[in-house]
């Protein structure tokens, strides 16, 4: 194994110097005293013998067998578990689409329990997009059903030789069915048929047409509560890893499953109560708060006003047309047309940021149009029409591609002359090239960097081969530090510096200040823990401002596992996850030179503020000085 044994010992290092308070958890000093912070043995498992199992799926032999969870992994879930398994079992130098890569699924620690907003699943493997380790996660009932069935992780290995399969998992049942009839078919149609075949309570995970052609932009799709393929572990091309294992679908039924064991129900209950109180109190996450009222797309206007919303392939940070695709406009349109808002991505979510976008007359539901998707397929392509954005999002869901990567890709293709900026109809036609598996479609399905090379474009917004999300780093320096240094490639969720830099959540930081290494590192560590816990990352908005919420989150994990972690231990666990991931990437050939933004950010000023990315390389290297 590589690093996961390290999780058995308490880390000595602290995330933040003693003299400062955590920028992530203001009001909480590291290792203060109190019930939650008592210093005992950490990361120890005291909950008795768990019956949760790892399901190992061998696609060479078409066999799925249960294994006991090794002690070293018993207290892990979500990202910590996927990254530990990938680091131990996948050779860092393997070809991501070859026989030695593996695809790992893991629900979070509290997923499948009554903990609020915790229906998250992590998917891991070696990324065909970045060439490094990847964890992407999604909210779906699939995660909860897997956990309730007593499955702590699924490891998919080997490659089926003849055709592609559907793996059907239920209590005492693991069967492989021929999935060939769904090859080349859209996922909306496939999910509807599978729901009919397996029952509307079934949970589904899949790869789409983009995965079938080994596209590095292919994501792993999960069902939403309507049974549509709109919830995605989208980033990094893991859909192509799934497809090249010969696995097209996984269907899960949890009926009769043992449920998630909770080692200490009182601690669990007390913890979740604190967290629920924080989520109900905070203006962003409370019922009727901005997330449930406008969805994530409420950010379009604020980031545009800040001059940091990338338009037309990162050539401007502001456009007066942006409000046409804003959360406010979308919420108003959904109400008028009879879609749904607020809405949940998975049962038990109390934040309810999701929605169902529909066409005029309430027809053809798409699912959620997230801020990132609206930006990527909208302003970044010069498109300011929500109906065009909705159809592009539908096409991404149907084909199984990541919306962020595809938006960056189309914008780069537009820059390369394949279409004109603003031509939504042509952009939809480009998606059809992927559906028809044409040579152009195969280029686009391989993402931003590949498309940039194909069409001779030099303004290619990527880090480690992965397309940038919806915040231009030139006027917001800290998010750029996260993009550059996270092991995942450009990923805003890896350390969301936007919260303190723009939103004033979790403290306040001047967006133009270039000294952001400590901020980004702290956020990355805290995020790695939240991605491990199974809680939605949006719980962070509340827990960054309300310390009892963070305490409750950690207590609820302690309740499930029988551990005695403090908040600082949780952050230390996040640091260990990052160390494991960086060690994998180093072995895969990554150096400090890969912890950099695309070159153009350094010399092309971004209007209207006309600033370049001027964070010195030395500051970027301070995030991980190893």
């Amino acid at each position: 194994m590589r690093n996961s044994r390290d999780f058995g010992n308490r880390a000595e290092s602290k995330c933040f110097p003693e003299h400062i308070q955590s920028p992530v958890f203001p009001g909480i000093s590291p290792c203060v005293s109190g019930n939650l912070f008592r210093k005992k043995r950490f990361y120890s498992y005291t909950g008795g013998e768990s019956t949760a199992k790892i399901l190992r799926v061998d696609m060479n032999k078409l066999k799925a067998t249960c294994e006991d969870v090794p002690d070293k992994w018993k207290n892990l879930g979500g990202r910590a578990l996927t990254s530990s398994i990938v680091a131990e079992e996948v050779p860092a130098d393997c070809h991501p689409l070859g026989p030695n890569n593996k695809l790992v699924f893991a629900p979070g620690i509290v997923t499948g329990t009554s903990a609020p907003s915790s229906g998250r699943i992590s998917v891991g493997g070696k990324s065909p997009l970045t060439g490094g380790i990847k964890e992407a996660n999604a909210g779906s009932s699939f995660a909860q059903k897997l956990a309730k069935l007593g499955i702590k992780a699924i490891i998919v290995q080997g490659q089926a030789k003849d055709k592609c399969y559907l793996l059907n998992i239920a209590k005492g049942k693991r069967e492989f069915l021929d999935a060939s009839p769904w090859m080349g078919r859209g996922l909306y149609e496939a999910y509807a048929q599978l729901m009919e075949k397996f029952g509307k309570d079934a949970a589904i995970c899949s790869t789409g047409i983009a995965g079938e052609i080994s596209g590095a932009a292919a994501g792993v799709a999960f069902n939403d509560i309507e049974g549509m393929p709109s919830r995605y572990a989208g980033r990094g091309g893991l859909g192509a890893v799934m497809a090249t294992r010969g696995l097209k679908f996984i269907v899960v039924d949890d009926e009769g499953g043992p449920g998630v064991e909770i080692a200490d129900k009182e601690i669990f209950k007390a913890g979740t109560k604190k967290l629920v109180a924080a989520l109900h109190e905070h203006a962003i996450t409370k019922p009727g708060g901005t997330l449930s009222s406008y969805g994530t797309d409420a950010l379009i206007n604020v980031i545009n006003e800040a001059g940091a919303l990338p338009h037309r392939n990162f050539s401007s940070g502001y456009d007066e047309l942006a409000p046409l695709v804003s959360g406010e406009k979308k919420a108003e349109t959904i109400k008028k047309r009879g879609g749904e808002r607020p809405h949940v991505c998975s049962p038990g979510c109390i934040i309810q940021c999701s929605e169902v976008w529909v066409k005029e007359g309430g027809k053809d539901p798409v699912g959620v149009l997230e801020y990132e998707s609206v930006w990527a397929l909208g302003p970044n392509c010069g498109i300011y029409n929500l109906d065009d954005v909705g159809e592009l999002n539908r096409a991404c869901n149907d084909l199984g591609v990541d919306t962020i990567e595809m938006g960056d890709t189309i914008a780069v293709a537009m820059e390369g002359g394949v279409a004109k900026f603003g031509d939504g109809k042509r952009a939809i036609e480009l998606m059809d090239e992927i559906r028809r598996k044409t040579p152009l479609g195969r280029i686009l399905a391989n993402g931003t960097e590949f498309t940039g090379k194909a069409f001779g474009v030099t303004r290619v917004p990527t880090v480690k081969g992965q397309g940038l999300p919806a915040y231009d780093p030139r006027p917001i320096k800290g998010i750029g530090v996260t993009y550059a240094t996270t092991p995942m490639g450009a990923d805003h969720t890896a350390g969301y510096a936007i919260a303190p830099e723009i939103l004033g959540v979790g403290g306040k930081a001047d967006p133009l200040d270039t000294k952001k290494a400590d901020l980004s590192r702290g956020l990355q560590q805290a995020t790695a823990f939240i991605d491990t816990s199974g809680y939605c990352l949006f719980t962070a908005f509340a827990i960054m401002d309300i310390p009892s919420g963070m305490e409750g989150m950690v207590e609820s994990c302690n309740g499930v596992l029988g551990t005695n972690w403090s908040v600082q231990d949780a952050v230390n666990l996040g640091a260990k996850v990052l160390a494991t991931e960086r060690k994998f990437n180093k072995a895969a050939g990554f150096t400090k030179a890969h912890d950099r933004l695309a070159e153009f950010f350094k010399h092309e000023p971004l209007p209207p503020k006309n600033v370049v990315y001027d964070v010195p390389d030395a500051e970027l290297d301070k995030v991980y000085p190893d």
Binding site: A283, I284, T290, L291, S293, Y294, G295, T296, D297, A298, L299, N301, V302, E305, A306, G307, Y318, P323, S326, G327, E328, C353, E370, Y371, E372, P475, H492, T493, Y496, I498, A499, I502, L503, G504, V505, K508, D510, P511, L512, L537, F538, F541, P608, K609
Partner: protein, 86 residues
Amino acid sequence: MFATLQEIARTSEVRLEAESVVEALEQLVTMHAKLLPEIFEDFEQRKLKQRVKVMVNGTDMDYLDGIRTKLKDGDRVAVFPVVAGG
């Protein structure tokens, strides 16, 4: 104005003649009285609610002169309640 402020005022934009941010906000809540409790914690003290965000030409007023930031012709003042996403 954005998000809930826009809904309450039933408009997204107003044109004002003001010499500072605080003067602009005073005029705004005079025009739309229902905005007063959404923007001001204590109007007498001219204290804004904790999470109201004000930008002047894209810069958070906290990095300028705060509520006393001077305005000139053509300046754009954006007022938000707390919003988030990802």
